[in-house]
Symmetry: C2
Subunit: 335 residues, 2 copies
């Protein structure tokens, strides 16, 4: 094993380890001549800093973890993309953890991140049972920002989108189009985003007298949408429109409907949620509820660094964005 350490570099350059460290961290404090001698030795030996040792001394790593529900969902990759520039320009390193909407996986990630003494955390918790773990991290001085989720009464910063309002927008849009029986597709119900969107939807249905069938799915992906359609097609009284909890579900549903020869939007309208790029490119361009994806990420990163910077005297901020209806062909039919 040829692990060259600072000591080797120091010996090769004929200086002390303290000086080598200074060359790396405060080059201006080292005389020109010495510095270049040390740098030559570093290059010569192919020396690479050992980050573990550095972190051990520093007490903290420079990693900011982003814990998302599903990395395969473009919504979350866009959120991450939004957060990255700020984190990196602050000298941080981004690591993305995928909880896969599974509390156990989420917990495993949090355990590891805690052991790694990460600098901070942007997290979209799987459900409310995540709360105790999150409090634990927070209690161990790991600053965190909740993403796509209001903080509620918890003492954290958060960036969220008003999902109840989003649910209302979707349902109202379908009601405006003349639908009198619609389906809500999404799950599991324990995911707050799903619950909120459904709640908003239900409010409008109650107000407008639209009948609502709820199809609870096991996840928020293609397969879930497909399976819900299979169920729905078996019904006596079939809804004439579907509101899907996110675009992946909607695209899965769209695909299944098309396979069964059900015309969208003539025989069944669909509206999704998130307005990912694929929505506009879908078989039938998909109506959706748009969220400011990358802004969500950017703001979250901003709040995190504010908190890190301000230290103890920090007051938490809770930012809420408003979603917006994007109407496309998949809901263009008037009944």
């Amino acid at each position: 094993m040829t692990t060259t350490s600072m000591k080797d570099v120091a010996r090769a350059a004929g200086v002390s380890v303290g000086t080598v460290s200074n060359v790396l961290n405060r080059p201006e404090a080292v005389a020109e001549e010495t510095r270049s001698r040390v740098q030559a030795a570093i290059a010569e030996l192919g020396y690479v800093r050992n980050d573990s040792a550095r972190q051990l001394r520093a007490g903290r790593s420079r990693t900011v973890a982003v814990v998302v529900l599903d990395v395969a969902n473009p919504f979350f990759t866009d959120v991450v993309r939004g957060a990255e520039p700020l984190i990196e320009s602050a000298g941080g390193v981004v690591t993305v953890c995928d909880s896969g909407e599974d509390v156990r996986r989420e917990r495993r990630h949090l355990e590891i991140l805690e052991e790694q003494r990460v600098l901070g955390l942007l997290i979209t918790p799987v459900d409310d049972t995540s709360a105790s773990w999150i409090e634990r991290l927070s209690g161990h001085d790991i600053p965190l920002v909740l993403v796509d989720r209001g903080a509620g009464r918890h003492p954290h910063c958060s960036v969220a989108v008003d999902d109840v309002h989003g649910g209302r927008l979707a349902a109202q849009h379908l009601a405006d189009r003349g639908h009198t029986r619609i389906a809500f597709v999404g799950g599991p119900a324990s995911i707050p985003q799903v619950a909120d969107r459904l709640a908003g939807c239900r409010e409008v249905c109650d107000e407008t007298g639209v009948a609502l069938d709820v199809f609870t799915t096991a996840g928020l992906n293609f397969a879930a949408g497909r399976e819900a359609v299979e169920q729905m097609l078996g019904l006596e009284e079939r809804p004439t429109a579907m509101f899907c909890a996110n675009d992946l579900v909607a695209l899965g549903a769209l695909q299944a409907l098309t396979m069964h020869g059900v015309k969208v939007p003539q025989e069944c309208a669909i509206i999704g949620y998130d307005d990912i790029d694929f929505a506009a490119a879908a078989a039938v361009p998909l109506s959706s509820i748009r969220q400011p994806r990358s802004q969500l990420g950017r703001t979250a990163a901003q709040l995190l660094f504010d908190e890190i910077g301000e230290g103890a005297g920090h007051t938490h901020r809770n930012v809420v964005f408003q979603p917006e209806l994007v109407a496309r062909a998949s809901t263009s039919q008037e009944l």
Copy 2:
């Protein structure tokens, strides 16, 4: 700061630090009574292992990094998904790094990963200039497997798909449909996957006398596809089919064509590459060249752990998968 260390736990439990360490790492070597006393102290104090210190001692981290060209591309998330189970069941931790098809970003990631002394690396290099950096890691005893890329004469394991053949399949399919002038859309040309797919395409065009227009793009995403269409529509003699270097580009192209009122496949056929889930759900279901995505990831992880396990006496393996044509509506028109 309340960073409790092993020393604190040891004091609370009335034992030495060595014993605490044993409780954590070799519990069977500690007497029942002592063990539970230590565990109580751990719970009591909310002690969390410090991974930096552990790694420093161990000399290696347990992180396996996967460096991909674009996390927003479902192809790569599927590859990662394929690799994860094996890595995690081996006690590893997965971290995904996005090079964004940018050599500089890739290099920054590699520098950091080297400082972190990662356990191993699965990487899809951006282009051939990445080679020197990769050799450097390898020279520092960081085992790595090339993903979606043959090792060529480099001494590494690799899992790849025969992209030249894939290019041939696509072009042959278009030729079979009667097209006599087709476009290839993709870039930058420095990305080997792009170059190979084009090479295969060119071979077939030469053999069959099909004219080929090449549109070199700056990246492999929606925008690239859209921009290429804008260019193409300006041409005197317009191709009747497009072969896009991946599905994202194809979907972007499809969207742009639709916006310009060009009918797919009647006025212009499209075939993509990767067969991501969205392909089948597209505005016009997209023909594509399928790659065994998650198998690629799984096999790569397997090779990596083989290499780690076998140590010095390891002989590199190069696995090549064959791609497969999936014909859908976007190329269904006979000319």
